[in-house]
Subunit: 393 residues, 2 copies
């Protein structure tokens, strides 16, 4: 019987669509000895984690906690709890994760209406209001930061509109939470989910969620049990609420990591953290533009956290990614779905959103592309523009 070799600790610089870099401090938190999931010390840690999550989501919602699964489990938790068979959901689809929401929602037996926009585009409020009037859904779901296209969806008007039409607003904030403004209460979002492995720079494995009073009313008015036992918020809230009643064994070490990751953000200051993401994105964009490359979304709807770059004609996108990985240890992502082979996805999220990473990536791209026979016009200019953008902030 062969025993597997110990895992290597090969170092990567993670500039893909997630996971992002995780600091030694957060990784060391995971290495702490375990407490039981009902240990008074651990219950205290849960309370602190929930307080920090509320500040991060900008909400006072009591029902704010991390679901014991990755971001997609957070997505599923929203739909299986808020929808019952036959109820109508209006799902905004302009990329892979909107499409995933529609798939997840359909599996609840709900009557799902997809509102579609081309990949990379965003929805305007009028379009959604027409959908609300026409379809009268129980729930509208939309992706704030579409990881497959790099598009940033404006949200500030939607909550008010949904209330006027008596619909719940569900938001996917997987690639925005912590990296740009997410105003759960101000924007009147009823249910919101995220993941730990993006702008929070905590390993993948938890999905922070928050449910507001209207979502809780909907939960309480359910006629049937939630179809998922594991994700049943009516039961989970007894553990993450004041009772601390056992539901399933919480992923202790991951919660240590989240607790420490949230402390890191509070030490930097949330607004400063947003500002850092904005600046780093600007620097990358200036460099890419000097290479003659452009981002997929219109300039007013580009995510600072995830840069979807059109692959210039004649370049094999996979070869560049392979070179970056093997020669520089840099991971960037390829396209998903209809963008497969057509874009690169460069994540600048959490700990990965650093000027040094931008400089390194631009330099490595220039060298790699030259090595592949593509002399980038103005490679030096790209670095200059990047440095100028850095200076200008």
């Amino acid at each position: 019987m062969l025993t597997a070799a110990p895992a290597t600790a090969r170092r990567r610089i993670l500039l893909g669509p997630g996971p992002s870099e995780v600091s030694a401090r957060v990784r060391e938190a995971m290495a702490r000895p375990l407490l039981g999931h009902l240990d008074p010390e651990f219950l205290g840690l849960m309370t602190q984690t929930q307080d920090m999550l509320r500040r991060l989501f900008r909400t006072t919602n009591p029902l704010t906690f991390p679901v014991s699964g990755t971001g997609s489990a957070g997505m599923e938790a929203c739909f299986v709890n808020l929808l019952e068979p036959g109820e109508r959901a209006l799902i905004c689809v302009n990329g892979q994760f909107g499409a995933r929401m529609a798939d997840v929602a359909t599996r609840t037996g709900a009557d799902v209406v997809s509102l579609e926009r081309p990949w990379g585009k965003v929805f305007d409020a009028d379009e959604i209001e027409r959908g609300l009037k026409l379809h009268r859904p129980k729930l509208v779901a939309i992706v704030h930061a579409e990881t497959s296209t790099g598009a940033l969806q404006p949200l500030s008007e939607l909550g008010r509109m949904c209330r006027e039409h008596d619909a719940l607003l569900v938001v996917d904030a997987v690639t925005s939470l912590g990296g740009l403004p997410v105003e759960t209460d101000l924007w009147q979002i009823d249910a919101i989910y995220s993941g730990t492995q993006k702008c929070l720079s905590v390993p993948p494995g938890l999905a922070p969620v928050s449910f507001g009073p209207r979502a809780i009313q909907a939960l309480e008015a359910r006629k049937r049990p939630v179809q998922s036992w594991y994700l049943d918020i009516t039961m989970i809230q007894r553990y993450w609420g004041s009772e601390r009643f056992y539901h399933h064994t919480a992923p202790i070490s991951m919660i240590y990591a989240l607790h420490e990751g949230l402390r890191v953000i509070e030490e930097e200051g949330l607004e400063k953290c947003w500002e850092r993401h904005r600046r780093t994105h600007g620097a990358l964009k200036a460099g890419l533009e000097a290479f003659g490359m452009e981002l997929v979304p219109d300039s007013e709807n580009q995510l600072p956290t995830l840069n979807a770059v059109r692959v210039p004609r004649g370049i094999d996108e996979a070869s560049l990614r392979q070179r970056l990985l093997s020669e520089y240890g840099i991971e960037i992502g390829g396209g998903l779905g209809e963008f497969k082979g057509k874009i690169w996805r460069i994540g600048l999220m959490g700990e990965s959103s650093r000027s040094a990473n931008v400089g390194l990536l631009l330099g490595a791209m220039e060298e790699s592309l030259a090595g592949m026979g593509f002399g980038m016009r103005d490679a030096l200019t790209a670095m200059e523009k990047y440095l100028q953008a850095q200076k200008a902030g």
Copy 2:
């Protein structure tokens, strides 16, 4: 804005129903820098992890992998994939986790028939065969190691019987896998799930599962999509199978921990690991008996991994647990459901299953009970019996 204090690293000795102790070696594995979930290095680690899981489950099933959630997510993965609305499931219920299986299975819309035995008792094969003949279910589900009662369910005849009656056999091995024989192929088990936080001594957060050829046939014959997107094995198998096609971001750091935890077991040797659990349980039992305490299940059906101890008349069970925790840093568990307030649950699983822990616990129990005014008859004898049992092996 207040920043939460850093988490303390208060040391506990975890002798409850899980999580069990996690070695520094496994905790340090979690602290490794992250790889992306599609990084070739990480894909190699996945392959090794799956190979080790197959040896642990004693199976050649290709579809063997860790579900991205705790043990209950593994349970739900089995039922939502193998059941469709209206199909009949026969669920054996003799404790909390059997009851949970029935709850989870009912939420699929299946026609669930519960076969019941008193808590602490086990099922005999004839009883299940009568159920098979009477109800003609698509699937029979049973708990191998009932964590709420400490009962060990014999399984060796059930697979053959289920095949004769054209039913699938689903087994909960959460508190047995790694701590006592679990023979997936030999016992003809079609689907089996476990958790990492028991005998594998890896933090909670993953649920190893294995699906055999008959389960895969059932999956392929489904008429409707699986109701859970997150747990849909027909999609997840594209990531954990040879394609390595993205489904959801794998919980990287938890998989590092599982990989290392499985290496620890292979280094000790699986049979030696079972034997250690058996010996340590024997030592604890000898000591408890000398205290005049008895275990819940009949002597031939006692789990080596989880000892359910009846609380002697007149002792407040919660006070003892609180004393053990506050004065000795030892965690043991209380009863669940109908055993609440009536039993203690002492786990000797994985790294926690050590002679030193048994000696420490017996000594601490004797001192604590004396402090609570209960002089245990023969406290010294208890320690003597324990030492004799240790010597005799």
